[in-house]
Amino acid sequence: MATRILTHLSFSVRLDFMLKVDSITKDFLLPISFRRIARLDFKRLPAVHALKDVSFDLPKGSVLAILGPNGAGKTTILKTLATLIIPDSGTVRLNDLILGKDDDRIKAAIGLMTSAERSFYWRLTGRQNLEFFAAMQGLSPDRIKTRIAELYDLFGINYGDRRFDSYSTGMQQKLGLMRAVLHDPELLLLDEPTKSLDYAGAVALRDFIKDMMVKKHGKTVIFTTHQMEEAAGFADLFLILHNGRAHAYGSLGQLRAQAGLPDGGLGEIFMKLTGGQTHA
C-alpha cells in the first residue's frame, strides 16, 4: 500500500518535500487487567494496530488533511510527528532532520495544536500561559513580548488578560493555535482544530489558517478531521486513513481517479476506498 501511494504521488506533486514519512507502524499493547493477573493469566492480548505501514511525502507550503473516523490513527500520526509517540518502525524526515535523532530540532520546527481542552493552566490568563510556553520554546523575554503582541494583533484577540478558565471553546482553540505558532514553526500539526466550534467559528478559523498561516506566512499544515466536506474546501492533499492503514493519498483529483469517481465528493471517495466502512 505504501509503495502504491508513493508511486501514485510521484507523478503529480513538486519534489521540494519538507516532510517524508516512510512506513510508520505503531502497535499499542493493552495492559493486563487485574482480573487476569488474579487468574495468573499473563498471556498478552493482541496489540491494537494504531498505524500500519503509513507513508506519505508532503511538499512545503501545502495543507494536508488526514481523514478518517474516530480511532483511525489520525492523532497517533500527529503525535508521532510531534515526537510525543515513538513509532515501532519506519522513518520520518523533516527537511534534513530525522525523527528519533534530532528531536529537539524537530520540536523547534513544529507546532502542535491538540484538540484537548486540558493543555493550559486554567488559573492563569491567556497571556501568562503564552509567556510560559514561549519561554519554554527558548524565546528571549523581549521577543516574548513582541511575539505575543504580534499574535494578539494577528488573531484579533482582546481577551488575553482574562483567566483561561473564563474562555469559551472558540477562544481556547484560538489560544491553542497561538501557542502552536509562538515560535514561528515551519510545520503546523492541528488535531481536529475546528472540533467543538460552531459553524461560523470553524469557517473563521479555517480561513485564518489558510489565508494567514499558509498563504501569507508560507507554513505547511497537517490537520486531522472526520468531516469530509470541511477538508475538501480547506486542504490541497488528503490522506485517507482507516484502521491505521493509509488507503489513499493525493489531491482531490487523484483520489477521484483512484476511486473511479470523476465527480465524487470526499465522502463518497472515502466510502469507496475504505470499502464502505464508516467506523474504525
Binding site: L84, R105, L112, A116, F132, P141
Partner: protein, 268 residues
C-alpha cells in the same frame, strides 16, 4: 536553562498565588504542629533527655529543627512526583515535553517552587522558634548548615526523580516515595533521636541518607560542628548524590521513553 527555570518559577508562583487561602492555612498548620511538639516536650522531655545529650538541646528544639529540615527532604523526595502528576492532570505535561527543553532542565524547574515554599516554611519555623519559643541558634555553623542543606536536597532529589518515574509510567501509585516518606520519618531521627530505636532499627537507619542529614544538621546548628567534623555525614551524602543523581535522570528518561512508546504521556 536559567531562563526556563525562571519561567517555571514565575508560572508556579502565579498559580499558587491564585489560591489565596493556601499561605494562611500553611502558616497555621506549622503553628499547630509546633505547639503539639511543645506540649509533647513538656510531657516526655525528662525521659528522652539522655538521647539528646550529643546535641545539647531539649526535645522541643531538636524536633523543631528536624521537622523544619524534613521539609527540604520532602522537596527532594516529593516535589518531582507531585509536580509531574499535577502537570499530567492539567494536561500540560505533553505541551512542556513538546518544547525543545532538556529533561534535566524540566526536572530542575519542576522542583524549584517547592524549594521556595520549603524555604518560606523554614523561615516561619525559625521566626516562631526565636520569637515565640526563645530557641537560640547562636551556635550555628552557617557553612556546615549550607553544605548539609545542599547535599540533602541533591540526595533526596535523586530518590524523588526515581520515584517520579513511577508516576510517568503508572500515572498513580508511587511505592518508592511511600516507602521512603514513611520509613524515613520513623527511623531517620526526624521525630526523636535514632538512639531511641532498638539495635536492629538503628542499623537499618544507617542505610538511609536522612539519618546522616538530620544528625549533621542538628550538630551544625546547635553544636557549631565544622565541615571537617561532619566529614563522615558529608561524604556519605555526597557519594549518595554523585551515584544516584545521574542514575535517576537516566531512569526518568527511560520512563519517559516508555510512556512515549505506550502513547500514554498525556494520560493520568
Amino acid at each position: 536553562m536559567l531562563k526556563k527555570a525562571a519561567a517555571f518559577l514565575k508560572k508556579d508562583f502565579l498559580m499558587e498565588s491564585s489560591y489565596r487561602l493556601a499561605f494562611l492555612s500553611n502558616f497555621f498548620g506549622i503553628l499547630v504542629g509546633i505547639l503539639s511538639y511543645f506540649f509533647i516536650n513538656k510531657l516526655f522531655a525528662g525521659q528522652i533527655a539522655p538521647h539528646l545529650a550529643p546535641f545539647g538541646v531539649d526535645y522541643f528544639s531538636y524536633v523543631l529543627l528536624s521537622t523544619a529540615f524534613f521539609g527540604y527532604v520532602g522537596v527532594g523526595l516529593g516535589s518531582f512526583s507531585e509536580r509531574i502528576y499535577a502537570e499530567q492532570q492539567q494536561g500540560t505535561l505533553e505541551a512542556i515535553i513538546l518544547t525543545p527543553t532538556r529533561i534535566s532542565t524540566i526536572l530542575l524547574s519542576l522542583s524549584l517552587w517547592n524549594l521556595v515554599l520549603a524555604t518560606v516554611d523554614m523561615f516561619i519555623y525559625a521566626c516562631l522558634a526565636v520569637f515565640l519559643f526563645n530557641i537560640s541558634f547562636a551556635n550555628i555553623n552557617i557553612l556546615s548548615a549550607i553544605v548539609i542543606f545542599v547535599l540533602t536536597i541533591l540526595s533526596f532529589s535523586a530518590l524523588g526523580i526515581i520515584s517520579s518515574s513511577f508516576i510517568v509510567i503508572f500515572k498513580r501509585g508511587n511505592p518508592l516515595g511511600w516507602i521512603l516518606g514513611s520509613l524515613e520519618g520513623l527511623i531517620g531521627g526526624v521525630y526523636f533521636p535514632v538512639t531511641v530505636l532498638p539495635g536492629w532499627m538503628q542499623f537499618l537507619a544507617k542505610l538511609f541518607p536522612i539519618t546522616y542529614a538530620i544528625n549533621a544538621i542538628q550538630l551544625a546548628v546547635y553544636r557549631n560542628y565544622s565541615v571537617s567534623q561532619l566529614s563522615r555525614e558529608i561524604l556519605f551524602l555526597a557519594a549518595f548524590s554523585a551515584v544516584l543523581l545521574p542514575l535517576a535522570v537516566f531512569i526518568f528518561k527511560r520512563g519517559l521513553d516508555k510512556s512515549r512508546r505506550d502513547g500514554t504521556l498525556g494520560q493520568y
